[in-house]
């Protein structure tokens, strides 16, 4: 996730202090990975340098935490461009799991065991996310659902591969 684009987007609703930006970011997007203050201030100084934000006021006492930042017109254009640009889907073509399965077959190890162990690990995380989702708000539910759908896709691949292990073993043994 682009932290600078996100902080810039948060500023579009009105000027904020650095600590306020951090708090809002953490509440909305930083459940697992809250921002460090240092990240906020280094990002803001970069946005300042690029003319995407400006200092809207400084409280007495100085220091970066006293500055209030406002988005500029160029910043608003930048946020609009970022939101309108589709994220590139992950190609998922360099699968570590596939590599492990093939190597297990090539070296005479039990690939079915490997797939079962991976399946158990995926389901463990799915249980954890399901618990968080059940007890969470709508934001939590949507974030967890995104992860759950990806994990589910992986699991379907694990099942499919388990069903095709004999064939794959024949192919890699050639």
């Amino acid at each position: 996730m682009s932290i600078s684009n996100t902080l810039l987007g948060l500023l579009e609703s009105g000027p904020r202090h650095g600590y306020d930006l951090k708090r809002t970011f953490d509440e909305r997007f930083g459940h697992d990975r809250p921002l460090h203050y240092g990240q906020v201030y280094s990002t803001m100084s970069r946005l300042l340098k690029n003319g995407l934000v400006e200092v809207d006021g400084v409280e007495a006492g100085g220091g970066p935490e006293r500055k209030r930042y406002a988005i500029t017109d160029a910043g608003i254009t930048d946020v609009g461009r970022w939101l309108a640009t589709p994220e590139k889907p992950e190609p998922y073509l360099q699968s570590t799991l596939y590599t492990k399965v093939v190597l297990a077959l090539l070296t005479g190890r039990d690939a079915a065991d490997l797939l079962d162990a991976q399946r158990a690990e995926h389901l463990r995380l799915m249980r954890e996310l399901t618990r968080r989702k059940t007890n969470g708000d709508l934001g939590d539910q949507l974030i967890c659902d995104h992860a759950l759908f990806h994990l589910e896709a992986d699991l379907r691949w694990l099942e499919l591969t388990a069903d095709r292990l004999d064939r794959l073993a024949g192919e890699v043994g050639k």
Binding site: L114, Q118, A120, R124, M126, R127
Partner: protein, 238 residues
Amino acid sequence: MTRTDSAESTGPLLTATRLRKTYGPTAALNGAEFTIDSGEIVAVMGPSGSGKSTLLHCLAGIITPEGGTVHYRGHELSAMSDAQRSKLRRGDFGFVFQFGQLVPELTCAENIALPLRLAGTNRKEAESCALEWMARLEVDDVRSKRPGQVSGGQGQRVAVARALAARPRVIFADEPTGALDSLNGERVMELLTTAARETNAAVVLVTHEARVAAYSDREVVVRDGQARDITSATAGIA
């Protein structure tokens, strides 16, 4: 055998040992083992036709395996008479199937009260209990409607309420969300698992959906007629 209050045992609630069941030349179960304790939710997964529903039916005493045994609280199911097994299924066991299987001529409230009435509860008490479960499953507004007049999600919640109303010790759920959309399916799973945990009921949950299995405590995979608990599976290939 009556409800097995007097038959306390210290072992697992329900155990299957070396189950074998064939359909023609196909072995649906071939030495399957399974165990579940009170309050546990166990997902049974596996490819289509792997024997997971057959395992559930054997555990519930609906079909009798050709080999192996099923013990419920220390009692072997195959040693019981048909009447005893029927009684067990009405009291200790609850069932939720893919398509609710509600009685179409009865209202939703009457469907929920039905197993209680069959178990000997008086009408007033059964109705009151049905309404209480309808409220918990968020379907009290369809109490007077018949199953054909409610949505799939509402019907499945009524089916869950019917399964839970008799306070079973084991709930057998066979693809309980299979006919529902994603949101309705998840709500049914939340309600089913929350209620089961509150009543300390065990749940045998047959599903092919990982997102549904994620509501369980552990997972058993049925493959080639065998059931393997893979919750703590580790690749023994180092």
